[in-house]
Symmetry: C2
Subunit: 213 residues, 2 copies
DNA sequence: TAGATTGTTAATCGATTAACAATC
DNA sequence: TAGATTGTTAATCGATTAACAATC
């Protein structure tokens, strides 16, 4: 599946949650479409691909959509995940509620700073990175989040993969080198900010050039 | 420009930095292509669109590429930006070096927690959110980053836009409602994690189905 | 010179839109 | 019933690849 298509499904889910909170029970393809900047036709094809059926004159049942999109994304499960690096970013992630929303269960925190080891964040103890491999093997953890500086990320990734981790959520601005079959999802904050910079520059150019009536 | 194209340019830049650190002075379109999972043809078209010229048998000069891509993204400038919300995430962002790399100069921090106001992070004072509008107007700040909970983001965005901010980098999981012409770049951490969940599910299905030889 | 690589045009592919009969 | 909206096929559009003459 194309990355953009995946993004669309996630946006549908976000919109559905909002609509449900407004008391709505059904939604039409055109409604979802305008919010997404796409046509109703595209939305109907997306939903059709998931074998979601709507009814003429009524649209789609929001509850059905939520369940089917959620199960496609596999976010109804609770895959155990470990987080390495309890700096400010790591701490923010631990305290957030994204894990359960995205189908994960944050079960272990690791750091190598003696001042942090033994403390706890959101009720989870910070464990010594020295025992990371053993803990991950014993618990059968297959996913991990790297909230580390770029210069430490590769070494930690290598250790995690050796211990059995098969999917990484990487915040370090570095292209991790991993064996085939290991999934790396890069969360590049820097790129989001660069994209903003580009869009500002583009808008300013458009304004300078004058609007075309 | 398509989002995916923009992403490609940013990835080229990342690769160039790495190549330069390895002492390389030139790079061919095919080299950039394989790293990006695309053909040399696409890379040559991307660079051609930026009026970057290479030389047969040698490729493109890395220094040229860096300057031209950087100036297209406008990341060589230093646009003043304010950050609102000095929680763990805000703190992580302040302490990172992404701002200057992406063409911004972080000049002001705001929060409404009395315990934080007056303290400083990375040498920058945390200011009272009550004086936010005035400060932003006086300094002519046109960009801001929202590192806030979803339930506070819309109200703060409204105040910022009223004060003259025209571009927002939003970390809250909410679709901000802003006037036409105001740019919002959403940084949805939750979506990155959901994408990982989906990719894991898909890989596991593929393995279960067996590899097609 | 020979040949590796560019710059660019034409061909292909896939995603999006348009269209419309089916239907609740 | 009438008509709004679906589900699906065909048409369009744009991005990517292929191809190849130009050239350093």
């Amino acid at each position: 599946m194309h990355r953009e298509t995946l993004q669309r499904y996630m946006n549908y889910l976000l919109l559905l949650t909002k609509l449900k909170s407004e008391g709505r029970a059904t939604v039409t393809s055109d409604e979802l479409a305008v919010r997404e900047g796409v046509t109703g036709s595209r939305v109907r094809q997306d939903l059709s691909a998931l074998r979601i059926l709507g009814k003429p004159r009524q649209g789609y049942r929001i509850a059905d959509l939520e369940i089917l999109i959620s199960s496609m994304l596999d976010i109804l499960s609770a895959k155990p995940v470990a987080l390495v690096g309890i700096g400010n970013l790591g701490r923010a992630l631990v305290l957030s509620d994204i894990w359960s929303h995205a189908g994960f269960d944050l079960v272990a925190l690791f750091d190598n700073d003696p001042a942090l080891i033994g403390t706890s964040v959101a009720g989870l103890p910070v464990r010594d990175a020295a025992i990371m491999e053993r803990f991950i093997q014993e618990q059968g953890i297959e996913s991990a989040c790297l909230a580390l500086p770029a210069d430490k990320a590769q070494a930690v990734a290598d250790r995690l993969v050796d211990a059995g981790v098969r999917a990484l959520w990487n915040f370090a601005l570095i292209d991790l080198d991993v064996p085939a079959g290991i999934i790396v999802e890069n969360q590049r904050l820097e790129q989001g900010l660069m994209a903003l910079s580009f869009r500002i520059a583009k808008r300013n150019q458009d304004i300078a050039r004058g609007p075309q009536d």
